[in-house]
């Protein structure tokens, strides 16, 4: 059942066409931020309006949608966005990564490897990777045009000189197809390698900032680093307390009043899928 009085997937067809044009341009120039006339959505800015607009523009009746926030399908905002599409587009939804044709995400890439034909839609708060170095759009656009990324390399170098390591914990800058510097959205470093030559199409939507960018399938995505200080991902000394995984991103949980800690998979579907065969035995 879809909401009455609104078009399929909420946006009117003209707006969807405008967004699809921006998406085509984004795919043609990997990593380049395409300005688009973002619309107000019935969800607040900063809560995924860019991703929602991208999903609304590409979703069809046969799609199967998965929405995650922090890797989980059952966090409140993921529930809210999934419900929004179930209501406005009447599409099938799923929590299983392997079954989804479109996966809208905030801050994670699923642990289960993506396949060709799947589309990842990322919610992006600040699309400009140079923003913390240069607040002005007029300047950063020029820097991108000239591929003038010295400031970012300098920032990384200064981190290493002062702290012995790069201190960017998430939203770690990447260079796409050897050209544009790109924000991978606030995913942890562990997810950065998954962007590289991914068989899935990856679309990024920033609603408030009105920018769309993309990484087409099988495109090189390199996390910035130095030969003597290679890019490194997060490591844990423990495994998932629930499924025992030692290869997934773990959330730290405070389990008692004495500050006892436990770690579990941030990707709920991955965690569940590892438990499923065991439960069946």
């Amino acid at each position: 059942m879809t909401a009455s009085g609104y078009n399929f997937a909420y946006l009117d067809e003209q707006s969807k066409r405008m967004i699809r044009r921006a998406l085509l341009k984004a795919v043609a120039i990997p990593g380049y931020q395409v300005p688009f006339a973002g619309r107000e959505m019935p969800l607040p800015y900063g809560w995924g309006t860019g991703g929602i607009q991208v999903t609304a523009s590409i979703i069809g009746r046969k799609d199967r949608l998965k929405v995650i926030d922090q890797g989980a399908d059952d966090t409140t905002n993921a529930v809210s966005i999934r419900k929004f599409f179930a209501r406005t587009a009447g599409v099938a939804t799923t929590t299983r990564t392997a079954e989804a044709s479109i996966i809208q995400t905030r801050h994670r890439i699923p642990e289960t490897p993506l396949r060709h034909g799947q589309i990842m839609v990322y919610q992006v708060p600040i699309p400009e990777p140079l923003r913390w170095l240069e607040p002005r759009e007029t300047q950063t656009r020029r820097m991108h045009a000239l591929a003038d990324y010295g400031a970012m390399h300098l920032k990384l170098y200064e981190d290493i000189a002062r702290f012995g390591r790069v201190t960017t914990a998430y939203d770690y800058p990447v260079q796409v197809n050897g050209r544009y510097l790109m924000s991978p959205s606030p995913i942890p470093r562990l997810d950065n390698p998954k962007l590289d030559r991914s068989p899935a199409l990856q679309l990024f939507g920033a609603g408030r900032e009105k920018r769309i960018y993309a990484v087409p399938p099988f495109t090189s995505v390199k996390s910035l680093d130095f030969a003597d200080h290679p890019f490194a991902v997060e490591r844990w000394s423990s495994r998932c307390a629930r499924c025992g995984a030692d290869d997934s991103y773990l959330d730290e949980i405070v389990v008692d009043d004495r500050g006892g800690r436990s770690f579990i998979c941030s990707d709920t579907d991955y965690c569940d899928s590892r438990l499923r065969p065991r439960a069946a035995e």
């Binding site: 078009n7 909420y10 946006l11 009117d12 003209q14 300005p35 006339a37 973002g38 619309r39 107000e40 959505m41 019935p42 607040p44 800015y45 900063g46 809560w47 309006t49 926030d69 922090q70 890797g71 989980a72 059952d74 966090t75 409140t76 905002n77 529930v79 809210s80 419900k83 801050h107 994670r108 708060p125 002005r136 759009e137 007029t138 702290f163 012995g164 390591r165 201190t167 914990a169 998430y170 939203d171 606030p186 995913i187 942890p188 470093r189 408030r208 009105k210 920018r211 997060e234 307390a241 629930r242 991103y249 959330d251 730290e252 949980i253 389990v255 436990s262 941030s266 709920t268 965690c271």
Partner: protein, 363 residues
Amino acid sequence: MYVAVKGGEAAIEAAHRLLDRDRRGDPTAPALTVAQIEGQLRLAVDRVMTEGALYDRRLAALAIKQAAGDLVEAIFLLRAYRTTLPRFAVSLPIETAGMDVDRRISAIFKDVPGGQYLGPTFDYTHRLLDFGLADDVADPEKEVVAPAAAAMPSALLPVMGWLEQEGLLEPERENPELVVGDITREPPQYPATRDVRLQALARGDEGFLLSLAYSTQRGYGRNHPFAGEIRSGRTTVEIVPEELGFAIAIGEIELTECQLVNQFKGSASQPPQFTRGYGLVFGRCERKAMAMALVDRSLRAAEFEETVTAPAQDEEFVLSHADNVEASGFVQHLKLPHYVDFQAELDIVRQMRAEEARQEAAE
């Protein structure tokens, strides 16, 4: 053993029910009607229409009711509705000179042809609580009797005209070639043109613009303003439908316009003259109209070869932070879970502390 937190869906639904309950308040008290809000909270309706960028008193009143009086939330509701509407025509420029005014003042001439009209204004009220209003029981004896409507001239010539005639005020240049931008259909690009800037200011948050305007008066980008003319009233909106080829009136809207006159000492390319700041809003959001006009003039710094030193003169700073729907959403998104990012930060801080401890032990 930790059990993953489930039940987001049920929690959201319960939260919505609690919200409905709180909005209704005491069920023994009569429910507020949309007509009451429209008629009696008219200035709230004006603000929601202005910043919601949709002239519809009834929908704005409904949004205020639904938002339990939270005006920024009501503005958001109206915007999210507005964005789904088709744009079927662009109106002709409205003629505020022909406005059917209920208020018209000028602070630069003691008397102006046509006269000055205070109209309904808080300006000269003493801000003493009127305890008589606390009595909810309607007393027809006490019903307000408006003064007999003065014979208002239907078209008051704009005050700015006299300055313009003398060549003391920068002329208003008409540019029939200009296709006016539409910030709801085109992404922002900097530097922006004045039409686009004015649109963004018209939708901008009243509080934000008020503070920026105030900052210019306190020396952060001072631009020596005078209230040349402020007028409120009703103006006809006309469109030219393609199939007709001539203008037809589609309705009347209430507007408040503020024209500022600002001192300007001249530059290498321009003679000394007065310059303009312009504000236009729906309804009677006069404070907003004045703030908008002050900020508009500040943002014209480059045009008059003035040095940009203050936040109110910085176009990218002002325009990219003026929208309260954007600002409210992004500030409040901090409530969303950030477990993953925080975990990544924890990892870095722990590594750095471990490294430091190792170094200290080695020393």
